[in-house]
Amino acid sequence: MNFVPNSTIKNNMLKETGLNDIDELFSDIPKQIRVKNLNIPKGLTQQETEQKLRELANKNSKITSFLGGGIKLHYIPPAVKSIISRSEFYTAYTPYQPETSQGFLQSMFEYQSIIAEITGMDISNASLYDGATALGEAALMCSRINQKKTFLIPQNISWEKKSVLKNYTKGPGIKIREIPYDNKTGKLDLDKLKQNIDNDTAGVYIENPNFFGVFEDDVEKICKIVKDNNSIFVVGVDPISLGITKSPGAYSADIVIGEGRAFGNPMDFGGSSLGIFACKNEFLRQMPGRIIGMTKDLDGRRAFCMTFQTREQHIRRSKATSNICTNEGLCALTAVTYLAWLGGNGLEELSKINYEQGQKLSKQISFVSGFEKRFTGIHFNEFVIKSKIDSNKINKELLRMGVQGGLTLDKWYPELKDCMLFGISELHTDKDIEKLVSALKEVSHV
């Protein structure tokens, strides 16, 4: 099985092509740079491959994890796995030939519809790479719309996003300014926002819940500050929270972005990922990425196709709204099948469970002496715990007991020494929680 069927009839085909030797096909490559062989070992059979990969998989160890940081293990229904395993879907290219791609196109139309629904926006694109690059694209879009050159972000967004944003905005020279968080609540400091916003502010970004897991409940006030300044209001969401919390559309956000992996996609070590990007209809022509529209065929039947392609690189080249071509199509398909499976009621239920799990865990950890909640703001399924002893030491001890503790924050937030970002989802059992809590008790006594 070498996946190259004509290798056995190579000589006949060469003859039919009027050639004697395969190397005649490569005769236009200068001799000095021709290579004979690649220094890569002989291929393995499928059986050997599986054995080899089993060995590698076993070098990863199974642990009970309470890591936060915007990515957690969630339940994936077998129906979702079954649907996305249809190879008519996953072995297709970008739907450039709509007549033979109606299945994928309609699915993406439904994805856009559901994303618009839960975010409270008018429209959504058919995905970007991930939440971090969606932030980069949002900043570029704001500056394209109003020609201003500063973009405001909370100080407490993930360092990964900050770095990606910096790289995305480097070309057009957009300046990034950070707004500090309130040291007590963990929410955005509104006074600091007022001090920093000015005539050159293209857009203001907030996250809800934010990176510390805390909900921003002054969103109307924030929105007013942004709109009074004629800037664009960009909101980043944990889409699972939208089952119970106000949609950004309800507080007049202009652009909503987020990481959609949690909708049916596995953690996969952080990738594949799914960049959610939704906005108000008035910004349609400035939006990055692919958009699917509904239309009719020659016979007047309902049909779907890629639309507003004049924004895209294959038509506009250097004048495109973004360079994105390959996106995260299959992850978006996964998301829409997952959300269809959940339904509106299911999403609300899931959201509620995640909130309740977060409350339960934070309460139980704060009961252990030496640990307390760092911020007073209401939190979702992630939260920051301050420890009396060295947080790195704690995690080392926990690991010995088969538990992965919270994410230590001091490397990126020196002011949060011995603070850990914990996360939990619907998949954690009471037994898992007990395991963590008793391990923490043990560690704090050492």
Binding site: F3, L25, D122, A250, G293, M294, E312, G329, K352
Partner: protein, 482 residues
């Protein structure tokens, strides 16, 4: 006779039980200031309905598993099933990117070894696996270019040059990184014009972006002279790896003088396109650019343990959250392990043979012309200009008629320098009889009644689509349909 499945498949919100949709209760779990007050209008359906809905949709979709898919520059090769199965193992799929390194040694080893294998295949010194797609890799390449010139205090370089055959993502990526673009015309051979290139290069040039073989499928034989000219001008040479499937084990961009290379794992290394993604576009560089690569780098210590290294003060930082599309990296790793060096070389050889076999038969049919140099690599570009002149059949019509035969059309109207272009890339995956079927269909179509061809397709789930109407009256969500 080919017939696609046809369903009048309703939208999810039109399915019967949609009436239950907006019955969501008011939750009281959160304080009033945070509570969602709007209903979540996603229908609440049974699993049976959902599975049937999406199964019907899948049957109105065409993938590589349905048949030949010779989209030029897209390398639609077969995607081995074993890769799909292994990435789903819990020990891979359930790993968190912030887990302690000692608990993810398997993942790190795979990424470390994949970087090394990509170095060997491309002839580059170092790789990063972070970019999510080819265009994302190009963008990173341009950021690295900028970092390199800035570190040399060469800040006046604000211009990128590319040939008129380049992929649309090239200029878009360079523009996004803040560069001005200069496009240079190709020679009558369809290759880079050395004289024009030399005149265009200056102390303002940051980089020259090139695909080799280019989008006509022609190998740029002057590549060593091109490299000399570009480097003499102080610029960098960038390799768009979309066409790497033509030369694995035969030649390496690193040896040709390229400084930065991106590869498309979802093309050359057999990972599925997923209807548009996820992809992966690793970027390789020469030694002089290593210090600017994104962090974290994956390292192996003296004890043989793998880990992350963030200690690269000159690094440009990150261009994606975490470490890249790991699931795609894993599939490509498995593919390379199965093929081995010899298998990869054979893939390229047969991909090029298949392409030249088809090219010969089609050119000899005299139904289509092939402008520019005749020896092609893994893809070739025909023109329907004669058909258009004589019978008013355009490339678009030929493409749509192929659909009626159950065959996926080639890329059309690209590259822009070929009139009425059909850009055909069969890949090594197709057996000879599939190639013959495709050749026969193309020849037959050229002789068909022009009305039949212009009326195609008729055997697909819908007929030709009103895309102008889609823009005039945008219907982009359920809510917008009244």
């Amino acid at each position: 006779m080919y017939r696609s499945a046809v369903y009048d498949e309703p939208l999810l919100n039109e399915l019967e039980s949609y009436k239950k949709v907006c019955e969501t209760k008011q939750n009281t779990i959160l304080p009033n200031s945070l509570q969602r007050k709007e209903k979540i209008c996603i229908p609440n359906l049974d699993e049976t309905q959902i599975v049937r809905h999406f199964l019907h949709l899948s049957q109105m979709n065409y993938g590589v598993d349905s048949g030949i898919y010779p989209l030029g520059s897209c390398t639609m090769k077969y995607n081995p099933k074993i890769c799909e199965e292994i990435v789903r193992w819990d020990n891979f799929a359930n790993t968190h990117p912030y887990q302690a390194p000692e608990t993810i040694q398997g993942n790190l080893q795979i990424m470390y070894e994949l970087e090394k294998m990509l170095c060997e295949i491309s002839g580059m010194d170092h790789f990063t696996l972070q970019p999510s797609a080819g265009a994302h890799g190009e963008f990173l390449g341009m950021l690295l270019t900028r970092a390199y010139h800035e570190s040399n205090k060469d800040i006046q370089r604000d211009e990128v040059i590319l040939p008129d055959t380049s992929h649309g993502t090239n200029p878009a990526s360079a523009a996004m990184a803040g560069y001005k673009l200069t496009e240079i015309p190709s020679t009558s051979d369809g290759t880079v014009d050395l004289n024009i290139l030399e005149k265009t290069l200056s102390e303002k040039t940051a980089a020259f972006m090139l695909t080799n073989p280019n989008t006509l499928g022609i190998f740029e034989s002057d590549i060593l002279e091109i490299s000399k000219l570009v480097h003499k001008a102080g610029a960098l040479l960038y390799y768009d790896g979309a066409n790497m499937n033509a030369i694995m084990g035969k030649a390496r961009p690193g040896d040709m003088g390229f400084d930065i290379v991106h590869l498309n794992l979802h093309k050359t290394f057999a990972t599925p396109h997923g209807g548009g993604g996820p992809g992966s576009g690793p970027v390789g560089v020469k030694e002089k650019l290593e210090k600017f690569l994104p962090t974290p780098r994956i390292i192996k210590d003296k004890k043989g343990d793998y880990g992350f290294d963030y200690n690269y003060p000159r690094s440009i930082g990150k261009i994606k959250g975490f470490y890249g599309n790991f699931s795609v990296l894993l599939k490509a790793y498995i593919y390379i392990k199965m093929m081995g060096g010899e298998g990869l070389k054979e893939s390229s050889e047969i991909a090029v043979l298949n392409s030249n076999y088809m090219k010969k038969k089609l050119v000899e049919s005299k139904k289509y012309e092939m402008p520019y140099k005749q020896l092609r690599k893994h893809e070739f570009v025909l023109s329907c200009e004669k058909l258009k002149q004589e019978k008013n059949i355009r490339a678009l019509d030929v493409a749509k008629r192929l659909l009626d035969y159950g065959l996926h059309p080639p890329t059309i109207y690209f590259p822009l320098i070929v009139k009425e272009a059909l850009m055909i890339e069969p890949t090594e995956s197709e057996p000879k009889n599939e190639l013959d079927k495709y050749i026969d269909a193309l020849i037959k179509i050229a002789d068909e009644n022009p009305e039949t061809v212009k009326n195609a397709p008729n055997n697909t789930s819908v007929r030709r689509i009103d895309d102008v109407g889609a823009t005039k009256n945008p219907l982009l969500t359920w809510k917008m349909i009244k």
